[in-house]
């Protein structure tokens, strides 16, 4: 199949990749750029494991064509920790609350948590649960994840 050169920024670095027309952003990130943070969970947009930020918005990279994000600004979970390697507040909270078991849902959960807290400093538990409703966890039962996110809220 014909290949197209696309260029986008990922976690602050610009990359030029030759991709097939039907290549999914998820696979390009994982296979071409070695960023295995976003996960292939279901491939149909239902589990949220492939969540990344495109131009600041959380989207499903398994439902995004690489050719469609030419010149976009992409952030994966790898881009959330600081350049010196220290962790974002939310990542620390997940560790402190035992909100990570197998870790498969974690990148998506953390990205959605960060997105929520950027929009609303003190979301209710309902709002937290509704915001992560597109991210499935098979291990934790969500309780520890919700607690971790709650602990990152600014005091009202």
């Amino acid at each position: 199949m014909k290949k197209t050169e696309v260029s986008f920024t990922v976690n602050g670095e610009t990359h030029k990749v030759n991709v097939e027309t039907n290549a999914l952003l998820l696979n390009v990130l994982r296979d071409d750029l070695g960023l295995t943070g976003p996960k292939y969970g279901c491939g149909t947009g239902q589990c949220g494991g492939c969540t990344v930020l495109v131009n600041g918005e959380p989207v499903l990279s398994c439902l995004t064509l690489a050719v469609a994000v030419d010149r976009a600004d992409i952030v994966t979970i790898e881009g959330l920790s600081k350049p010196d390697g220290s962790l974002d507040l939310i990542q620390e909270a997940f560790l402190d609350h035992g909100a990570i078991q197998c870790g498969f849902c974690t990148p998506g959960m953390v990205i959605l948590a960060k997105d929520l807290l950027k929009r609303k400093a003190h979301p209710s538990e309902t709002e937290i649960r509704e915001h992560i409703v597109g991210n499935i966890c098979r291990c934790t039962g969500y309780v520890s994840i919700v607690k971790a996110i709650k602990s990152c809220r600014k005091k009202p």
């Binding site: 197209t4 947009g45 969540t51 064509l65 509704e130 409703v133």
Partner: protein, 288 residues
């Protein structure tokens, strides 16, 4: 998934040029939340995928004196966050908030939801109840308006021609937007295709209903209006007797199928139940 081609016009003029020069069948894509799973199922090899997401001029929510206009490329997230929609068309606001999940809503568009024409399309019952008009455009600027109750022809089939896109959806501002309700029944709390969805919009004078608009999803080959039930309310009181009688009749108005989500029999029963709740909620003035 082979030999598919891709183009992303930055303007309607460029889109015309691309579609006009296309040597293979064209498939339009907006948010991609339905089209990409289709691509992966091999349904679109040998087509030209024309990505409309660059047409920023079709992404808007505008309130005018008597009507509201929503651009076809407006994402469901934007609709679910729009103050104008929340205040002036809460029916659509609630439906938008229950489509998929926050992740799909960030990409899914109202035009795409209608064009894909699932019988369970989430924005369809509210737009039917609002008596919306679908504005379309073909190559070389040929435009037309299609009333939404004439837009759907069957499962995943609409009146759109192969080179025709939706540009915007308009509807008159309801007289009393609060007298509406939207209920969606699914097998889980989110990211679920409706087993049944119902939208009700009433115009009342005290306890008398001047006009009722009742729309249903997932219980017929297309989203539909229950015109015969609406007539039973016109000019009459919204009382227990009327509601009970209509809840039995509405099961005869629909033509659901049995599928992996629910049986036809269950859909008929649950339509009667949710219809009662929807009418009661609408006449009380919607959600608290």
């Amino acid at each position: 998934m082979n030999e598919m081609e891709y183009a992303r016009p930055k303007s309607l003029k460029e889109m015309d040029r691309i579609v006009g020069a296309a040597k293979r069948p064209v498939k339009f894509i907006a948010g991609g939340t339905n089209v990409i799973p289709d691509i992966r199922a091999g349904a679109l090899s040998s087509k030209l995928l024309v990505d409309l997401s660059g047409l920023k001029e079709l992404n808007f929510v505008k309130e005018e004196k008597n009507e509201i206009a929503i651009g076809a490329l407006t994402t469901i997230s934007n609709i679910a966050a729009s103050r104008v929609i929340r205040e002036k068309a809460p029916l659509l606001f609630y439906a938008a908030g229950q489509l998929g999940s926050p992740l799909t809503r960030n990409r899914a568009t109202i035009g795409g939801n209608l064009a894909y024409a699932s019988p369970a399309a989430d924005t369809a019952p509210p737009l039917l109840a609002l008596e919306a008009v679908v504005h379309t455009r073909r190559r070389l600027g040929r435009e037309r308006k299609i009333p939404i109750d004439r837009f759907f022809l069957g499962p995943n089939k609409t009146r759109l021609a192969k080179d025709e896109i939706i540009t915007k959806i308009t509807f008159s501002k309801p007289k009393d937007p609060s007298k509406g309700s939207y209920l969606k029944l699914g097998l889980r709390n989110a990211m679920t295709i409706s087993v049944l969805s119902i939208a009700v919009l009433l115009e009342t004078n005290g306890n008398v209903c001047r006009k009722a608009r009742i729309a249903l999803g997932a219980v017929a080959p297309t989203p539909m209006r229950a015109y015969r039930i609406e007539k039973k309310f016109a000019g009459r009181a919204i009382d227990r007797k009327n509601i009970e009688e209509s809840s039995l009749l509405i099961a005869e108005e629909i033509s659901p199928i049995s599928d992996i989500r629910a049986s036809a029999e269950y859909r008929k029963r649950v339509t009667s139940v949710l219809f009662q709740r929807a009418i009661q909620e609408a006449s009380r003035g919607g959600k608290p």
